[in-house]
């Protein structure tokens, strides 16, 4: 117990030192909010306002109906009017349109005759339908694929005789669990909560220790009667407290402002954060023992973070990655924390569902933190 006595004093000293730097208050409060709002509002890949340039060389009621089908969809908006086939590609190169549609002469006649045939059940079933040209700007690969598929779907729907396509017996019915309206924000915001906790605890701890070394006050602390263990506790506890405050802040904003569901237990989330902090504080300390300047510490941690964020499944699902990289993600602590936080927020996951993640984080935390403490002692002694 004797060993624990000085810890509150070191923690208080550290807090005083932290808040002397006015900007730090901004870092702790303002940065998480900026991240939440930027990602919460901007990070969606929904298909909207796709500008379509249309060249109608048929000028029949059928072709006008097709044009209307495009303009009345909530995805496509009218782009510049095309006067000749050459315009269609030119608009895409100059970024004045994202998709161009060419309705060649004869479109109306062909679709009308197809409708007649399907009504009477006569004629050659194999005869090709009316052709419509679709040009898509492929620069943004993920948008382009979906815009192309949607345009093709509108065209085949517009030309189908009413009621023809929907009676297929194999038409599957689908149901989405947890997020029935498919709001991408609901998935993004819990991920940002993880990022915020990671940055506050890992990056700031690493830089705080190196800062003392850089300006020479670490030596002064070492000549004091504090043991390295007490020093470490004093350096990490304040950031753990700040990380918990930010976790609470971010969760409140997510639930009250972004109206996210919070299906699971807040205690489970807190427990997950506690285990995870062992990893991030350990990483911060470890980076500080291998760095002699703040720039180095920051760089080392950034280098780690950029990869860890990408491989955590924050933006894109891990199953889409090539097998080699998929294996690498098992070494990424963020991967497990993402699953815990998203599971608690969206799926109402319990400890029984999440224990593999807890076990992985706990194991990593123990290894990383003891390695950090060991290196720290060695450098101090």
């Amino acid at each position: 117990m004797q060993a624990l006595r000085p810890i509150p004093f070191i923690v208080r000293k550290e807090f005083r030192q932290l808040f002397r730097d006015r900007a730090l208050v901004g870092i702790v409060v303002f940065v998480p909010l900026v991240q939440l709002f930027l990602f919460g509002y901007a990070a969606n890949t929904d298909l909207v306002d796709v500008r379509v340039a249309l060249l109608d060389q048929d000028r029949s009621p059928e072709s006008r109906a097709l044009a209307d089908a495009f303009y009345s969809s909530d995805v496509f908006v009218p782009g510049p009017p095309a006067a000749s086939p050459g315009d269609l590609e030119r608009f895409l190169v100059q970024r004045e349109a994202d998709v161009s549609i060419w309705i060649p002469p004869g479109y109306g006649e062909r679709t009308a005759s197809f409708a007649r045939r399907s009504l009477t059940g006569t004629g050659d079933r194999g005869e090709a339908g009316a052709q419509v040209g679709v040009l898509v700007d492929g620069t943004n690969s993920s948008l382009a694929g979906r815009a192309a598929a949607y345009a093709a779907w509108i065209i085949s729907q517009a030309a189908s005789p009413p009621g023809a396509a929907q009676t297929a017996p194999l038409a599957a019915r689908s149901r989405f669990f947890y997020n029935p309206e498919l709001r991408s924000r609901d998935y993004m915001v819990p991920g940002i909560v993880v990022l915020i906790v990671t940055i506050i605890s890992g990056l700031l701890t690493g830089m705080a220790v190196v800062r003392e070394r850089e300006i020479g006050t670490l030596e002064q602390l070492m000549v004091s009667p504090l043991t390295p263990g007490q020093l470490i506790a004093g350096k990490t506890i304040p950031f753990a407290i700040l990380a918990f405050l930010d976790l609470a802040l971010a969760t409140l904003v997510a639930v009250l402002w972004f109206r996210l569901p919070f299906e699971g237990s807040a205690w489970l989330l807190a427990a997950g954060a506690l285990v995870y902090l062992l990893v991030t504080l350990g990483l911060g300390l470890l980076a500080s023992t291998v760095s002699s300047t703040q720039q180095q510490a920051m760089f080392t941690l950034w280098f780690f973070l950029i990869f860890a964020i990408l491989m955590s499944g924050f933006f894109y699902p891990i199953e889409n990655m090539p097998p080699g990289i998929r294996w690498l993600t098992y070494a990424d602590p963020l991967r497990y924390m993402m699953k815990i936080v998203r599971g608690v927020f969206l799926r109402g996951a319990t400890f029984a569902d999440l224990w593999p993640q807890f076990a992985a984080l706990g194991g990593m935390g123990l290894v990383i933190f003891s390695a950090a403490v060991w290196r720290f002692r060695k450098r101090v002694a």
Binding site: Q166, P169, L170, A171, E214, Q296, Y316, T350
Partner: protein
Amino acid sequence: MKRLLAIARKELRHILRDPRSLLVALVMPAAMVVLYGYGIDTELRDLPLGILDEDRTEASRALIRRVLASEFIRDAGRIERRAEIEPAFRRERFRAVMVVPPGYGEAELGSSGARVSRADPARIQALSQASLPASNQAQVQLLIDGADASTAAIVESYLRAALAGAGRGAGEAGAPPADPRVRILFNPELESAHFIVPGLVAVILIMICALLTSIAITREKETGTMEQVLTTPVRPAQLVLGKVAPYLLIAIADAILVLAVGRIVFHVPMRGSWGALAGYSFLYLMVALGLGLLISTVARSQRVAMTVALVATMLPTIILSGFVFPFASMPWPLQALGRVIPATYYLPIIRGIMLTGRAWYPLEGAVLAGMAVLLLALSIRRFGTRLEA
């Protein structure tokens, strides 16, 4: 000029004394290209699909076999009862479960074929729910974990396509009434790397210039060596230019490295001229440098400089410029914010030059030039007054 070079040499020595940071500055961008090139991919490769076969007929088993044969689907196991579905989702065992209801086999015998179109899933879903007869017992159900909304939409459209393919075994529908001939320009294979690599150049230039220069300058302030340099006859402008010159070189080296890795590993095309790219990139580099200098005049500690560089430059560049998230789908206040970010103007230029081959960007170029002049003038002036005070 001589003094400027001396400062630059001093800064270079600072950089070289810390080979790890230099290595990180050079290796990180190249590694980012490889990881982002492979990692940002909406193509499904390994979809864990669960199966609940309530029909247990020859027909249902045949359907399941054909669906599981799709190369993007991984057979993640069978379940016996509907009550098992939800707990399995909570454990993330499956991303989707296909339920073949009782009576599927009989209904299939009576039908002639199937047609499921492949398009925007949300709309198909609305449409199919509106028009499907309730009595149709043969409906296969797709239960999808919707937590990851955008992936869920893709999962659904892939599964419907797989089902449509599997249903073909029973009979073929006639030719479609309309035949959309889709051609995708500039990136016909829809390679995500072709989209990401040019964007990474924009992100990395900002990262190196704004972050490294602001930290290098605030470090001298924090450790107190700035005063020592100022007692020498070096003028503020010389000091600033000398300090940033080495970082400019690093930034240029990084940009070249990123482009080289993109070309070699991902075969990102270069359809425009290198000269135009270099010219516009130089403008953008000046803007990034101006930002870094401005931050260093505001920040007193490295920690603050890092945070400001992160929040005011890197995050907006990644999120608001159209690097991954399309500009059009943001609400208007963020679009307005996005319009003051330099990368919003540089991204169309570099993507245009590399992917479409367009050479001339008068509007974007003018905005970048204006930003560069404004930021550099402002920061050098602020720098001068701060140092003399």
